[in-house]
């Protein structure tokens, strides 16, 4: 197992390195001038432009960029953002917690409620409630997330006033407020963006789980268990669910990047201070140092997720374990 893990980790690191090199090459191929965000419509002397390019490293070739990034990485310096003029690590670390919170809770709900409803739907394929649940989630999946977000804001923030329309916390909340007040405030602000993301994504794990569970239900060992008179609940959870988990684990590995990338539209509509919106803006402004660093973090998270998914895969599927 340890040998497998070492080999898989090395493979992931190599994949991450290749992905990062490709990202940097693509960034250098992108048309557009990163200094547009700085100079705007001001006249600028060529000497000023050259000094600024040197300061932000936008005058480097692909290989110079990679070497400088690698050297900086060794001592925790990934450069300075062109648009924000601050250390990119500081900028990313400011935004990462909000993204992890929103993305993490979305995944948690998707992969608990979604899976539970999926298995239940598979066990009751002809029930009206199961069909209704499937239909509702598919409608949610089909609607663009920002439309769902805008509708939720209109109903629950503007019309009913139950939840704040945007932001991650109340700016007027006293810094000395109690823990309970702060948690309640965070939850109120989390409600609408979280609901939007869950509505937009729940259908995928639900339907995936339903299909897998339906397939598992037709397996001989399930039929044998039923023939032995095992109770339906036990059949469902012990004999159907675990084999049906394998594709879900794969799905989870693929979805982990959502933890970091979040949803640009949802972050925008709800003014949620996450990394997704930051990356989108940085790319639009050709803020190369910020895009490189954010891209690096994303690639590392994706590869880590991939290794963890493979590991989990081996846990849930004994057939994958070494003899």
């Amino acid at each position: 197992m340890i040998r497998w893990l070492a080999s898989r980790t090395t493979e992931a690191a190599l994949t991450a390195a290749v992905a990062f090199v490709v990202l940097v090459i693509l960034l250098h191929l992108l048309p557009g001038d990163p200094l547009t965000a700085v100079l705007r419509d001001h006249p600028a002397d060529p000497a000023v432009v050259a000094a600024l390019r040197h300061r932000w490293g936008t005058d480097r070739t692909v290989w110079q960029s990679l070497i400088a990034f690698g050297a900086g990485l060794a001592h925790g310096d990934l450069g300075v953002s062109v648009s924000e003029q601050r250390d990119v690590l500081v900028v990313i670390s400011e935004r990462l917690p909000a993204t992890l919170l929103l993305g993490g809770l979305t995944l948690l709900i998707d992969f608990t409620a979604g899976l539970a409803i999926g298995v239940w739907s598979a066990l009751h394929p002809d029930s009206i409630r199961a069909r209704l649940a499937g239909a509702i989630t598919v409608v949610g999946y089909a609607l663009p997330a920002f439309v769902v977000g805008l509708v939720l804001v209109w109903i629950f923030a503007v019309k009913l006033g139950w939840f704040p329309p945007s932001g991650a916390s109340d700016p007027l909340l006293s810094p000395g407020a109690g823990v309970g007040t702060i948690v309640a405030d965070r939850l109120r602000h989390l409600a609408l963006p979280l609901a939007t993301l869950v509505i937009a994504t729940l259908a995928v794990p639900l339907r995936q789980q339903r299909t897998s569970a339906l397939a598992a239900a037709a397996q001989p060992w399930v039929l044998a268990a039923r023939a032995r008179g095992v109770r339906p609940g036990v059949v469902a959870w012990r004999h159907c669910w675990r084999p049906a988990l394998t594709p879900i684990v794969t799905l989870l590995g693929l979805w982990l990047p959502m933890l970091v990338a979040g949803s640009v539209f949802v972050e925008s509509v709800f003014a949620w201070p996450g990394v997704g919106l930051l990356l989108a803006q940085a790319t639009a402004e050709r803020d190369i140092p910020l895009v490189m660093a954010t891209g690096f973090v994303l690639i590392v998270v994706i590869q880590t997720g991939s290794v963890l998914a493979d590991l989990l895969y081996r846990v849930v599927d004994p057939a994958q374990r070494p003899a």
């Binding site: 600028a44 000094a51 601050r86 932001g167 700016p171 201070p273």
Partner: protein, 555 residues
């Protein structure tokens, strides 16, 4: 209790006014009540103010808005809002100034001025800031200070400024554009290290507000500096909330969570007007949108453009456009179409900016025929010497406004015999292509300086020859240059600038189609709401909350 807004804008907003200023009375009895203990302004901005330090703001509006609360200018706008002459501005950090000769001014700093750490503001701070402004790695817009030859301290609080040439705007150029930084805190840092230093995280200024806290990605809070030497601010705190999505900003205003809404798209105007607790103010904007002709060939920039060198072609293409219709389709009645590079903040030059001449397709066709353009191929596109009147129109894809204008212009020019390809590109690509000259016509949107002498930067022959200048059209007209030079020192400033702009209008290096006014919505509980056409919130510290209307956040 006054808004400094030129009268035209009051008419546009349905408010009557005088020539330059309007005084709005406070609510009756307001003075008899105890003031709200914690008057608060909440303002949602579309870009996060991450670097609100003068010279380092990159002219990003959110950064400028915050830096104006933290750092004082040497001089502030006066009652007229003018920038021309030695007495148009009023003292701020500088308590007085005097002229030694046409090239020399001496400024006396107010001895009461203190940095928020208690250190006095000195002449050395001013000299240090001037030197920093000229350091290329700072990335400051040096062209604005180009006319200043030297700045030296001649005492603890006295600064002598030497200019390269006479100008009526010397006080503005130095005293308004210069917001001194604390040399005792920054001098030990390398200029390129300032933005990543502790100081950048917690800037210490000399203005009416001090930095209280910043929640990354969400908000920045400023608290009033009760020791501010020009008087205790009547607003206790200002919260700048970062909300990137314009619709989310509108929602926040409509739900009462913010007090100011400064970008109001036409579809949302009815909802904003419908709020009883909101007051709409029309503020002249420095925003100017135009179709700019490249006078050099887009394929070989060493040669003149085969299409746009002849002023008759430029004039004809102007006549073919119904500029008023284009402006109205974007800004409703909130914009006019000037004939030259004159945004709404320069209306003291020519108050009446009705487009002249109006659209005239027949005359446009006649002018083109006169210039030798004929429909020889029978496809509706004019041709001269084998060259079709066919060009591309460059603009950034991020701007819906410019896309609307492009589609309309394409149709109107087609009617005059010109074929136009729309060249819609991403913002950074647009920015990169402008200086290369690899374009025919582009839709430019600029924020003009409060002073018309800035025309030199974008429309003079000197700028046309200088690499890196914003004279992207490479337009050069020696008569225009002479008129601008005359105007910078003229006694009758409006007349002199009118002459320069008239010359530009006759030559048509660009078709200016929208000089807009910006409607701003402000919560009605505020009194003494003073907003400025440029650097809008400079006087925020003097706003007041009517006690009877105070909200929970003001208490």
């Amino acid at each position: 209790m006054h808004w400094f807004i030129p009268s035209r804008y009051h008419r546009a907003a349905g408010i009557t006014g005088r020539i330059a200023a309007l005084f709005v009375l406070a609510a009756p009895g307001a003075g008899a009540q105890r003031p709200a203990p914690n008057p608060t302004v909440v303002y949602a901005v579309g870009k996060e103010p991450t670097m609100p330090i003068p010279l380092f703001t990159h002219s990003e509006q959110a950064n400028d808005d915050v830096s104006d609360q933290l750092f004082l200018h040497l001089a502030a706008y006066g009652p007229t809002g003018g920038v021309s002459g030695d007495h148009a501005l009023i003292p701020a950090l500088a308590r007085s100034w005097r002229r030694v000769d046409p090239l020399t001014l001496i400024f006396e700093l107010d001895p009461r001025a203190r940095w928020q750490d208690g250190a006095p503001v000195t002449a050395h701070d001013v000299v240090y800031t001037w030197q920093l402004a000229n350091n290329p790695v700072v990335g400051n817009d040096q062209s604005r200070l180009e006319s200043i030859a030297s700045v030296e301290a001649i005492g603890d609080r006295t600064v002598r400024v030497q200019f390269k040439r006479p100008s009526a705007e010397q006080v503005y150029t130095f005293a308004f554009l210069m917001q001194p930084l604390p040399s005792h805190l920054l001098e030990r840092l390398a200029p390129e290290a300032i933005t990543t230093s502790d100081y950048a995280r917690h800037p210490i200024g000399d203005g009416p507000f001090r930095m209280a806290r910043r929640v990354p990605g969400q908000l920045l809070e400023l608290d009033a500096d009760s020791t501010f030497f020009l008087g205790r601010p009547t607003i206790s705190r200002v919260l700048f909330r970062y909300v990137e999505d314009p619709n989310a900003r509108i929602t926040l205003f409509l739900t009462g969570e913010t007090d100011i809404l400064d970008v109001i798209p036409e579809p949302a105007m009815a909802q904003v007007r419908g709020r009883a607790d909101a007051r709409l103010i029309a503020v002249p904007s420095n925003d100017l949108v135009s179709f700019v002709f490249n006078t050099r060939s887009s394929t070989d920039t060493t040669r003149p453009s085969p299409l746009f060198t002849d002023p008759r072609v430029r004039q004809a293409l102007t006549l073919a456009l119904d500029r008023t219709t284009i402006a109205r389709s974007i800004f409703d009645t909130g914009a006019t179409a000037p004939d030259a590079a004159q945004s709404a903040i320069w209306n003291w030059i020519t108050p009446d900016v009705t487009p002249h001449p109006a659209a005239d397709l027949t005359r446009a066709r006649m002018l083109l025929a006169e210039a030798g353009w004929r429909d020889t191929r029978g496809d509706g596109v004019l041709v001269k010497d084998g060259v079709p009147l066919h060009f591309s129109l460059l603009y950034p894809s991020s701007s819906a406004m410019r896309h609307t204008a492009a589609l309309q212009a394409q149709q109107m020019w087609r009617a005059a015999g010109a074929a136009v390809d729309l060249d819609r590109v991403e913002g950074p690509v647009f920015g990169a292509r402008l200086p290369t000259g690899r374009w025919d016509v582009m839709i430019n949107r600029v924020g003009e300086d409060p002073t018309p002498s800035s025309l030199v930067q974008s429309w003079s022959c000197g700028a046309a020859r200088r690499p890196g200048s914003t004279n992207y059209a490479r337009w050069c007209d020696s008569t225009f240059d002479r008129l601008v030079t005359t105007a910078t020192t003229a006694k009758d400033q409006p007349a002199a600038w009118r002459a320069a702009l008239a010359r530009m209008a006759a030559q048509r290096p660009a078709i200016f189609f929208a000089a807009s006014t910006t409607p701003i919505a402000v919560h009605r509980r505020f009194d003494n709401v003073i907003v400025w056409p440029s650097r809008t919130w400079l006087s925020l510290w003097q706003w007041r909350v009517r006690p009877a209307d105070a909200l929970p956040r003001d208490r």
